[in-house]
Symmetry: D3
Subunit: 223 residues, 6 copies
Amino acid sequence: MRSVLAVGAHPDDIELGCGGTLAAHRCAGDTVTMLVLTGGQNGPGSCAERRREQERAARVLDAVLIWGRLVDCALAPDAATVTVVENALRSVAADIVYVHAPEDSHQDHRAAATATLAAARHRNRILYYRSPSTTEFNPTMYVDISAHLDRKVEAIACHRTQVAASAMVDPEVVAASARHFGAQARTRYAEAFVPARFVWDLSATHADAPAGSTALVGTLPAW
Amino acid sequence: MRSVLAVGAHPDDIELGCGGTLAAHRCAGDTVTMLVLTGGQNGPGSCAERRREQERAARVLDAVLIWGRLVDCALAPDAATVTVVENALRSVAADIVYVHAPEDSHQDHRAAATATLAAARHRNRILYYRSPSTTEFNPTMYVDISAHLDRKVEAIACHRTQVAASAMVDPEVVAASARHFGAQARTRYAEAFVPARFVWDLSATHADAPAGSTALVGTLPAW
Amino acid sequence: MRSVLAVGAHPDDIELGCGGTLAAHRCAGDTVTMLVLTGGQNGPGSCAERRREQERAARVLDAVLIWGRLVDCALAPDAATVTVVENALRSVAADIVYVHAPEDSHQDHRAAATATLAAARHRNRILYYRSPSTTEFNPTMYVDISAHLDRKVEAIACHRTQVAASAMVDPEVVAASARHFGAQARTRYAEAFVPARFVWDLSATHADAPAGSTALVGTLPAW
Amino acid sequence: MRSVLAVGAHPDDIELGCGGTLAAHRCAGDTVTMLVLTGGQNGPGSCAERRREQERAARVLDAVLIWGRLVDCALAPDAATVTVVENALRSVAADIVYVHAPEDSHQDHRAAATATLAAARHRNRILYYRSPSTTEFNPTMYVDISAHLDRKVEAIACHRTQVAASAMVDPEVVAASARHFGAQARTRYAEAFVPARFVWDLSATHADAPAGSTALVGTLPAW
Amino acid sequence: MRSVLAVGAHPDDIELGCGGTLAAHRCAGDTVTMLVLTGGQNGPGSCAERRREQERAARVLDAVLIWGRLVDCALAPDAATVTVVENALRSVAADIVYVHAPEDSHQDHRAAATATLAAARHRNRILYYRSPSTTEFNPTMYVDISAHLDRKVEAIACHRTQVAASAMVDPEVVAASARHFGAQARTRYAEAFVPARFVWDLSATHADAPAGSTALVGTLPAW
Amino acid sequence: MRSVLAVGAHPDDIELGCGGTLAAHRCAGDTVTMLVLTGGQNGPGSCAERRREQERAARVLDAVLIWGRLVDCALAPDAATVTVVENALRSVAADIVYVHAPEDSHQDHRAAATATLAAARHRNRILYYRSPSTTEFNPTMYVDISAHLDRKVEAIACHRTQVAASAMVDPEVVAASARHFGAQARTRYAEAFVPARFVWDLSATHADAPAGSTALVGTLPAW
């Protein structure tokens, strides 16, 4: 059982970036924690509304929710933000970290990415997710979310103030991008990631595999 | 249990690039097949010697060995080479493919990389490994080979003609690079990879995890 | 009135990559020529079928069709291919050239891209389009095809042998990708391009604009 | 008629980066607004001198001038700067935005680039121009300024305090770079750009083109 | 005789990044100055200890040591930091500048890199060195430190508080990375660099070469 | 005294790419050899004319000239081309190699670059130069050719058939680009390079420097 931490600058960022993957993690028995760094004070929507929306979305994803209590549009990649992420990483003993990709036109997203990379400097699994404001993004890692797209859309729908008023939050685009990346991943629906650093744990995967299973050794005739 | 195919242009390329990872796959119960595209005719070493060395190395790694029967220093990324790799992929029903990184000063390595990428166009796990002649390489994926470095070095040592005569095959450098990439991966010894396309299979990992395990839901007080 | 040349390696490549943009060009009064370099001999579908499908698709896009008469899966970026593209460029006096992006897992697509870049070395508008097999693609130019998506899908549907049998040709993915790139372009549906070299012709745009239109000059009070 | 906004950190930045292109826009009947974010307080030259120089240069380019009233060498990519650019974008209803390329050794230039990208997050035509302090710049878009180089040089010459004292402002280099990029663009003199996001408006170009112009349809004999 | 300035954010950064190269410079008769921007207040180790360690390390490298007197974990790429580096550059009349590579997970390292690039905007030899926290690094320049590795390790060993307590400072990794980069450089041990801007001074190299030495001119028979 | 080998695909390529640098090498007492791989059979100009032009240009640069005897527009990055370059490297015992940058729209230029990189796999100083057909080029190394520009232009002028008939060979552009790159290098005229691999030889530079020259050691008061 792995411990997953997803970091986002504002309410709804995490769901948009990796909501389906978090659902897949829960499905695989992993614990999932969402760290939302700011309250989304700049709106649309009041702080109280956005807090309730984010709580509902976390419930949909069956995830623990932690608030970073920093300020929307004033997030800096400084020691204070690094400390907030470090505390979260430590308190959940995170094995895997998801965060905004660093090339983004929103300054808070860039700050979240760099602060998280600093906080997770000793961790070995950090994946960047995409936001609607991400500018450069060449994904090479994917998670198949064909079984979890509905859950992702449901979690996003919790953020009613955003769906109603932000051009950046459009469920139609969410599905289209998932299909687009799904085709790239040679599956149906996928979320796409750029690994910042990813140590693939082969051994953990097959604890139950027969230890002595022997492959054929020698030279096969070529077809 | 996964089926792994590693593709290399010449005898010893696969061991240098991902020998430790192949050992880790075997250890995890996966089957491993090595496809060596050419006989290494250009030497150092005779074709017969190199064939025997490669067979010994495959035995050390407990892997199936297939020869591509193409010609050293004349490997082309054409339909013939693509077909050889397609046949191997199909015959072992490969889940995971390892091959040379495409930016390499050796023309055969580049050809192996592009032909394999074409052959594996419908597969969803293809990882590029590094060779001593690789020119540009920004790894973001790693496999911890701390428990398998000895096996890797042993497999490379089988290629006596190369260890003796090629400046590119130096066991001391093999260990140094594994430690260098290990530090990057925040572990001890590692092999480094660039994913061409990697779909991370979360669900397969925890077939034995309790299906209904429930995380705490709600807002935690921040530390 | 501009003259547009679109180059593709196989029947259906051009429609997938820039079919909506070609429809937009026709709509703007430009002439459009499609140069299909090979007959798609490797199938699925017979050569005769694919020729008829391509002719139908060209008719849907109201475009001139030229065949390069080269061989599927054996396209090389050599002098012969360069000459075929040079002849087409000259015969239509192309102002704008569309071709495959060079980073692609299909060898024919790479060859088409590099041969076209060589043939068009003195031209000043060359745009790379994306294929399902494109591997790395960071688009920064877009054409809004919201009014032309249906036409694009209709042109692709002409390639029945491909829609039926190739995993790479899926109308659902075509629409999803157009929406995905549309969101990136801050419009509804878009095709995405990477410019190889694009000289933006400002003066041609407003031949009918009043020559002496005068802007306010001076220092405005800042808000 | 399009509305163009050019953003620069200091007096003279815009002229150096895209002065010829702004002249071409005016020539095509577009309105042009220059937003100079700081007063260039750090010199050389006094604030009053630099203000007068900038006003003269705006007059040479027949452009509206707006001052951002921020502080030289203290420009931050924060909410305040973003707001200044947002206000300018809104007040001129900008269709096209020009700004510094983000890879630059001057902190103010980087801040201007990132703040503008944030402010223009919903716009679909943003082009990065080059400064003498730009560090990495791979232009793929160009505007032919052969008819406007003199105007550009004249506008730069207005900044006498800079031409006299700054190693970064040298009319000889301005002409040389325009010729260098002109050769890259396959024209005589050019300014070079990297598109951040550029939606090419095909339909607007030929409002006067004959609506029903019909291209030949069918298969041409190949040359 | 050249004047070399190496800039680092914290005590030990310079030794880790380019300590062997600085030793090689001293060996070649160049003067070497180390500018350590902060006191390493965040530890491990007290400020006083770290100051003594850094002084000892500078003595091992036979280098002048300057303190920037800025604050650990609060380094900003602002005008104040730029001024500190400018003063150092001027006071030693630096011909060559070494500094952190800008892609680094530590905010102080990024700040040191960008402030130094700004301060050295008129200099023509600036090389980026690697730190354990550097994230993306494609070196193409190297200095052979085979004769200086011991000196480098000795200088690093002076930083006892770091060697004892920081996972980032491990002499074994230092040697492994030097061997790894040595193999890339086709030598034994090397430090690796990315040039920000490097003007190679050919003429200075051979003041003692015979002025009129004449090469054979004409067409040689090919081998 | 160093031995320099410059490799070009056609007559005039080397002069355009690094003619000033070769003159600087001669001036510093180095031997310079030019390896022209093909006879430029495709013209403009006859083979005999181009041979004479190249011989004259080599004489202007006081360089040895070797012909590769391969065929224009049919250069392949195969074993034959690699062998031609290997023979030249060996026969002149090259310390430094100059060759086309690999991203180029001309297939022969790409082939020359990759074949040379393969041939020079054990060498430690390989620099890529720019051609008019180079497509992507981010130079970070420069050689000051302010004292050698006239010589470069004179060498290019020897290629009369090219200056007269090829849009790619224009002395005005040669000077403009040298000034453009000179400004980037913070000097007057420069040629620009991308290092493929460059080991900077510090020790060779100052054989005559006083061995025991001692720098001040200790902590300087900060300004």
